[in-house]
Symmetry: C2
């Protein structure tokens, strides 16, 4: 890592903007004004953040934009998944109109995944799209939401049910902001990093395991390296498939079960915890189907436990209810539920037909859910 930290260049030939930089460096949040590319050059900036993040980092970000001659203001919105609604999207939109923001405006999303999704959807739809800068402040948002351009909100009938794919003009990730992140949320992010290792790089998985203590201690250089490695892996899938028709589906490993568990817990189970359990269940499912090399689930359990992440379904959850929820997942195509599995640690699986997800009968999933602690 240079003094400048890491820069990942993300090229997406079929979308606009067609390329952008993800900058990962301690202290980079103070360098946002100088990092802004021409596409994000605006006559005014609106920093969208929740009240807590606005207080911690938003006010100083606005000040540093103003000092650089960039007119900026702060827009505080409530955070938390229940706030990621169409009503909140409409409210933020109306607030921009009231502030006189035109097509020359630019939105800076400062916060976790909820703020990124919500502010991203506002930017994508405001006057048919104004530029967006993502400044994620949770590890999960840095590793996951920062690359791929997914934006959107929930509806009472489903999570992320409305939204668009819209790339940001710039992503700035400062590991120093992770010092104020609760430990459970830090761990939640590490689960996604483990997923990146599981689907794309056994070497990365080993590095995460051996660096686990330094990561949990929030050493900023270790965290910067983790973020850069994960972003590169995620970008390698997304650039091949911006709209998720093929390879990008590999990133759903662990997520079919994870989404069902989150939904059943009414979103009290943190996303990363659900993904940790989901990866173990889906790896075991793959082993049972002969898709995944034997021992992969055990290896994942070992690394996840080392990081303090759960690997078994908590409480008493009926397996049949989990299966019923998987059928409502956006990834469902026709009757059987599709899973994105791994072939072995470091390699995602493809079906015999070359598909990046595999249709599985509910009956085949029951025994692995039981093994993971679900009630049968």
């Amino acid at each position: 890592m240079s003094n400048e930290g890491f820069r990942v260049h993300i090229a997406l030939p079929d979308t606009r903007p067609s390329e952008y930089e993800a900058v990962i460096a301690p202290g980079s949040i103070g360098r946002v004004p100088e990092l802004l590319p021409a596409e994000a050059s605006a006559d005014r900036y609106v920093v969208v953040a929740d009240a807590e993040v606005a207080r911690l980092y938003g006010e100083s970000l606005v000040r540093c934009l103003e000092e650089a001659g960039r007119p900026a203001s702060l827009l505080a919105v409530p955070s938390g998944e229940p706030e990621k609604t169409r009503a909140r999207w409409a409210e933020v939109t109306d607030a921009l109109v009231e502030r006189g923001v035109g097509r020359d405006g630019c939105i800076i999303a400062l916060g976790g995944g909820v703020i990124g999704d919500l502010a991203g959807f506002v930017a994508a739809t405001y006057m048919r799209g104004i530029p967006l800068v993502q400044v994620p402040t949770t590890l999960l948002a840095m590793l996951d939401a920062s690359v791929g351009g997914k934006t959107g909100v929930d509806t009472p009938l489903g999570k992320n049910l409305v939204g668009v794919v819209r790339q940001p003009a710039l992503v700035v990730m400062d590991p120093l902001v992770l010092r104020t992140l609760p430990l459970a949320e830090l761990r939640s992010g590490l689960a996604e990093a483990v997923k990146h290792g599981a689907i794309a790089s056994a070497g990365y998985l080993e590095w995460i395991e051996s660096t686990g203590d330094r990561l949990l201690e929030r050493q900023s250089n270790a965290l910067a390296e983790l973020i850069a490695w994960s972003v590169e892996i995620k970008a390698s899938f997304v650039t091949r498939d911006p709209e998720e028709h093929g390879p990008r589906k590999a990133l759903n490993f662990g997520h079919t079960i994870a989404h069902a568990l989150e939904s059943l817990s009414a979103y009290t189970l943190p996303h990363g915890h659900a993904v940790a359990i989901g990866m173990v269940v889906e790896a075991r499912l793959g082993e049972r189907l002969g898709v995944t090399r034997e021992g992969s689930a055990g290896r994942l359990e070992q690394v996840l436990e080392r990081l303090g992440l759960p690997v078994r379904i908590p409480g008493s959850v009926p397996a049949r209810e989990i299966l019923a929820r998987t059928a409502r997942d956006k990834k469902v195509r026709r009757a059987r539920t599709r899973y994105s599995l791994i072939a072995e640690i470091g390699q995602s699986a493809r079906s015999e037909q070359g598909d990046w997800s595999i249709a599985v009968d509910a009956d085949a999933v029951l025994p692995v859910l039981a093994e993971a602690g679900a009630d049968v």
Copy 2:
């Protein structure tokens, strides 16, 4: 024209889908199933239309999809600009979820511009985007909304204030459906055709003038030729500039004034009528500024009057109020209002800096508004 009518191929290298066909032929509405491209191959189709259009053409379209082995259903929504709201967008979205439409679904927008914009925005945002087929049933929607991929809804604070640019997978335009269109709406569409002539082709403007009677009699071959000609002109601007940063702005000729007049009339003035008046005013403005060749405004008046379109501001509208409304136009950039003018009939104007719109002081606009009948 062959038996197949016209086909315009629209290529947009930087967007998805990156190309699609616009099919223009009498009877083509009955051939929608066979015209569907692979990208619009879906496990179910939802035809979105207002009650009147649903009755006239929607039921038979659903039947013909079903007969071709394509499961389809009809979703009737209220029409009219006041219905193009975020609430209606949310309702249509929820109706799709309730019908179990997944990422394999496809929306067919059957109707005028309001239905196209609304259903298009639903398709663009439903599960981050499902395919859209546009079957416009008004001349204005065929000439204008069918190409360019603009989708969106209004908010109390502005028209088309939220939306995205999203290309359809196919556009089918059947001039036979124009037989049921009210004459005022037919004329409204012809105003946009005149605009296409004004900004891009003096020959087209002459053809419209000499074919005026056949067009007003709704001869389907004449209408098919008109639609194809206009679509080709519009496509030539849009393909160069899908997101309206440059050349596409030329299509706004007449529209800065037109939007102000529509808004002041609370949208009782039909769009095409407003555009007709707006073109005459803006051509005269251009002549006054030395941007537009002398006589252009007179020539436009001649053709528009021949088609039965208005060329003067109706009633008593204060010029200052018109100017105030132009400042709220989405095209406004900083202080002065920007106009997209013509250099002469058949040629859009560019500023000395190469811009496709020109900043004009309000004071320069007052006299031409007075000349067009506004109160001063």
